[in-house]
Symmetry: C2
Subunit: 412 residues, 2 copies
Amino acid sequence: MPVLVMKFGGTSVATPDRIRRAAKRVGVEVAKGYDVIVIVSAMAGETNKLVGYVDEISPLFDAREYDAVVSSGENVTAGLMALTLQEMDVPARSWQGWQVPVQTTDAHANARIEAIPSDNISRKFAEGMKVAVVAGFQGISPEGRITTLGRGGSDTTAVAFAAAFDAERCDIYTDVDGVYTTDPRICEKARKLDRIAFEEMLELASLGAKVLQTRSVELAMRYKVKLRVLSSFEEMDDAAGTLVCDEEDIMENKVVAGVAYSRDEAKMTLVSVADRPGIAAAIFGPLAEAGVNVDMIVQNIAEEGRTDMTFSCPTNQVARAEKAMNDAKASGAINFNELVADTGVAKVSVVGIGMRSHAGVAAKMFKVLAGEGINIKVITTSEIKISVLIDRKYMELAVQALHDAFELEKAG
Amino acid sequence: MPVLVMKFGGTSVATPDRIRRAAKRVGVEVAKGYDVIVIVSAMAGETNKLVGYVDEISPLFDAREYDAVVSSGENVTAGLMALTLQEMDVPARSWQGWQVPVQTTDAHANARIEAIPSDNISRKFAEGMKVAVVAGFQGISPEGRITTLGRGGSDTTAVAFAAAFDAERCDIYTDVDGVYTTDPRICEKARKLDRIAFEEMLELASLGAKVLQTRSVELAMRYKVKLRVLSSFEEMDDAAGTLVCDEEDIMENKVVAGVAYSRDEAKMTLVSVADRPGIAAAIFGPLAEAGVNVDMIVQNIAEEGRTDMTFSCPTNQVARAEKAMNDAKASGAINFNELVADTGVAKVSVVGIGMRSHAGVAAKMFKVLAGEGINIKVITTSEIKISVLIDRKYMELAVQALHDAFELEKAG
């Protein structure tokens, strides 16, 4: 029998009624002849409640105990989903991570899946079971302790099972009905994409279009897992949602696939840094140690022997970044005149694998923004992405203007 | 190091604050030099919530999935308790049932513990860990699936660990401060017992004094585990609570240890049953199959060839009992004139191992009740217990009168 993996997120299993609704979709796929592996998240709100307990008790927690606590929400949903399917006369049973076993590293709270032996579940499929319900987000360490995969880890669980069972497809049911050319909440012309390439999805995921966990997309790309994102709240048909796939499987051939944004950015500038070989390491080493997620980096030579170093990071890490820089200055490791933090910025990016073969995308983007009177503060580019930092008040305008200019409302 | 087992029930771990309070008590025992095994229940209300989900989804549930779901509450508490102890600088870690492993039968939702290998936890004690926190109520079946031990199963988990680790004592922390001569809510002279014999505790447990799960007392008696019941809400000292122990360890030597009652009783009488060999089996077989928990049984010969058969059962099983008896009559298996159900009765019992060697307890009990004008409807006796069914309206009066007559307010 061909295997299908279906993953349901927290809002899709938030109540027994929603679990029933999700189970009906599973039943439809079983009726088509699939053996189905269902990956479930915790009921919406449960994991946050458990994390809240841990934070209240032990702010600097032992991650092994954190994992033992927060993994329990998925176990509940897995059992309830199996019971619901049984009530619908679909032969099903639940597996917790250690029962499969989902073997992971021992990096507790942020473990990576190393192997998923398929024999246990395959044997049950051979005996006539139609659905294996697996608790997402969790695994077992080499030492036999429970691990979790980090927030959004159930997506990664789903893709890893799809790879291990050579599944025909991995369907991610969520509360949006697919991947859009941009956020429909700020651009009403946003269009749902039928297909998007793995590389584009990776850039969009890391740029704040939080449809899929980044690692799940990486994994799907490596193992060529066809990943479909679709809503558990709308009527289902085979063409629904967005298929994330290899670029050669994509017919529509746009240069730019989408416009992403991130509101939560700050721009930090170290003014007049005494320049010398190794100065970048002396700055970004301490920032990394302080847990600051540096995104864009730009260096300008201001005058002989001095440089301005600009970087961006999430707004809520500004205080940490300032402390790390001032400590480094106090210790003599670096020297600068001034540290300027600008928390009123946003990042806007255009993403598309077509850029690889089409020149002029950057020039067009800058012209569009200039035409709207929007000043660009920082620019970075990759092979398939151009990102700019701009004043936050222009963010929606920039997204809409770029969406129009690249004609993203039109298919193909 | 000597090992101590400490068990905390749901109300004792209902919030992070209460967990902290419980952890402090554990810390006190660690400071005395014990290696401590802590058995925890789910936070109060959690298990009921999970059972509610299962009932909503699947009234005739697959008990294997039920177990996977309802066992998760204990896992949460175990992790939180370990974190709390670590915050207090007490080296601790959590174990879920399958990690120990607590090996049980595969009678899901009502499994029995078969073995608890001590090597995993003992090795950690040898490495310097001071507290093993174990999720109560759960284990693992021979097939590797999660099992639960039935309601109140954490008491049994605690006693089984005390037996497996040859613990010096098993302390059961609960929301009452010990075992009383009778229920203080209906008899203000009720006195907390310092000690009570296993056999007496067994009778009291099964008679509705719901301090300990019956099976935990049976297990403690078989393995000679010293069991102490005490409150987690009061100041602790070594003499606190009630010690449940072998009768030879008890100094105070009363004939009657306590007066128990059960409000939730119904008296059923099959009037004028056609008597023949095997008639009792023909009556009580169908009742057992219908899941009716028959308690007292009395047979009176009314006339030649006919008999009246009276039995008691919980009030909420009366309808089921009536159906089973009417079905049996309809099928011709038994024959009776009338089935009379009296749901206005209560059971009152006096319990004491001293009865074995003291005659006259029954006579005194009947005289006391007669003196209060209370009519006795059914009597049964065992070696250490005398029970009577009376009108429910006299229940409190009977308990108080018997408590006075046997001078239970006085120690020793």
